[in-house]
Symmetry: C2
DNA sequence: TTGTATGCGTTATCAG
DNA sequence: CTGATAACGCATACAA
């Protein structure tokens, strides 16, 4: 618990000199500095960043706001991979991360701005936010630099990172089309997710390019839940037995679709082809292994942090980063048999 | 960026009164308080926790130190589930979490104590630490309250949370024994992991109870890596074809073992029975679904945080929490055929 | 019930 | 090259 005051006393100099010596200023005598460093070592000194931040008005801290970082969020490792990327990048660039603990209840009591200002974070990264999150509209008005993962919103201090969801969806549908499928359904997430909207656009666009009329009954929402997807798919396939292929807005839901197929006695891929989205770890382990659109989740995290720190340093870079994704063909898709 | 000073000026009172009014002290006139709260609202005031922490010498912050919270750590969701539990508990109890970003390189430059004191955390939770981590020996000497996940170390301010690894291993081996297996091998992690040591003890203990002589050649290390486990298992099974069952110290390694079996043309479970440890998400999705010892990872996190905060409040509770685990029988184990 | 003065640990300004 | 002093935003002992 030694402070620079203690060091000053022990070394027989003023606190000013101690501060400057320890911070590597050049206007301090080398002999004095050496002496001070010795004393500091001896007293096992470590600077108090609270005090430093207070006076410098800079905390070197970034807030991380993750939806569902709780019991319900452990279904897949998407969020975790993003976090790993964020953590690596902020570490590389000398920042620390503070994990904001929040939920709908707490959000009512404390505004976004309050949350951030209390902890004096320099910027914020959002992951897993829904379009109807009450904090969302505050973000753009606030002065606090912010980067959103998978929410397209930008402003002076606000940017986002996402993958090319529309194009990814097109690739998925095209892959099915190339295999001869013409009755292609889609199991989407929900309309509060931006990625769902974009992936639906891609689905429609590809159908249109292929001159297949869009049938709104072929699109159902699975709420990004495996079980939910299973249920709606069973209904879907019962209602429209002509469907031979399904594009899913997430791998988790694709797994629900696979269960539904099993339930109905349909073989994958010979009776039904399935394409997912994300390429979560499970995708290559399910049986049969899932064909999917892979996105680099770690990179999404890394680039989010990178973008935020660029904004902090007001580098006049773009406020948007769209990452590539690509089709990974495994064994849930096959030629349509006649 | 309004401060209590601004409020004081606008409300025509002193900063002391503002401070007390906002903090709910009872020695302030209700009328004054109301006025002050109005002004505070109007100025969109939020308290600066840095300043508060500095003067109160209490940060309400817990440091989280996670090994491999980086690109290499995304293989399974064990760590993530633990983190979710930690996050939920600290949130419930009014703390915030700061994610320490560290690695072997940074550890050389900055000691454990320095890291903690700089950010003035009140306590620390360690997850995924190895026995040879240079920080480990510092922990016990340091004054900083600390809880370790899966490292058995305790002291005045140090506790740990783990599951009953020895007993879990016994259950696993007993299950194999009950199915008639007598040549039971073990694919362990590495000797720098405490859980490996305990699980090996359980393995030996059960063999001993069953009057099966311990054969050290039957135990190999897979380093907690799927690929590594696959390689060592191929060698193991080539050298000792009489082996009919393998107990693995992690599910990930069990999956490596399953690949090895496939590689050697062995059918699971009819030719080789396999039991894992952890019950990660993948366990129920691999083919065939993996029999394993399940541990409640979320709870491990939650209890770790809970224990730490108990220590902070110097509740004279135990410094140790050992959670139960249980056998989940799926389809990788079967009666030994004759 | 309210205000004055002081200090938390640090950096910044400016004079010597 | 060095030191005295103020300031960051807040809480508190003590005086009024």
């Amino acid at each position: 618990m030694a402070t620079i005051k203690d060091i000053a006393k022990a070394a027989g100099v003023s606190v000013t000199t101690v501060s400057r010596a320890l911070n590597g200023y050049h206007d301090v005598n080398e002999k004095t500095r050496k002496k001070i460093k010795e004393v500091a070592d001896q007293l096992n000194y470590s600077p108090n960043t609270l005090a430093r931040s207070l006076v410098m008005n800079k905390t070197n801290t970034i807030g991380l706001l993750v939806s569902e970082l709780n019991r319900s969020g452990v279904k897949d490792n998407f969020t975790f991979e993003v976090m790993c990327g964020i953590n690596d990048c902020v570490g590389d660039l000398g920042y620390d991360l503070i994990l904001f603990n929040t939920n709908p209840d707490k959000q009512k009591k404390k505004s976004y701005t309050q949350l951030c200002r209390e902890r004096q974070v320099e910027g914020v990264i959002f992951q897993g936010m829904k379009k109807d999150d009450p904090y969302l509209k505050e973000i753009i008005d606030s002065e606090i630099p912010c980067v959103l993962v998978d929410i397209e919103m930008q402003g002076e201090n606000v940017g986002y990172v996402t993958t090319d969801n529309e194009f990814g969806a097109q690739m998925a549908v095209k892959h099915l089309y190339n295999y001869g499928h013409r009755h292609i359904a889609m199991v989407n997430g929900h309309d509060q997710a931006l990625v769902s909207i974009r992936r639906l656009q891609g689905y429609k666009k590809m159908l249109s390019e292929a001159n297949i009329p869009f049938n709104e009954n072929y699109v159902v929402d699975g709420g990004f839940s495996e079980q939910n997807a299973e249920e709606v798919t069973i209904q879907l396939l019962k209602n429209f037995p002509e469907i031979t292929a399904i594009f899913c807005a997430s791998d988790l839901m694709a797994m629900g679709v696979m269960k539904a197929a099993k339930n109905l006695g349909l073989n994958i891929p010979s009776d039904l082809s399935v394409v997912g989205f994300d390429d979560i770890l499970l995708a290559s382990y399910v049986n049969p292994p899932l064909t999917t659109i892979a996105q680099d989740k770690y990179k999404m995290g890394y680039e989010s942090a990178n973008l935020l720190i660029n904004i902090l340093n007001s580098k006049d870079s773009s406020r948007v980063k769209v990452l590539d994704n690509h089709l990974v063909i495994r064994q849930t898709t096959a030629e349509k048999h006649c």
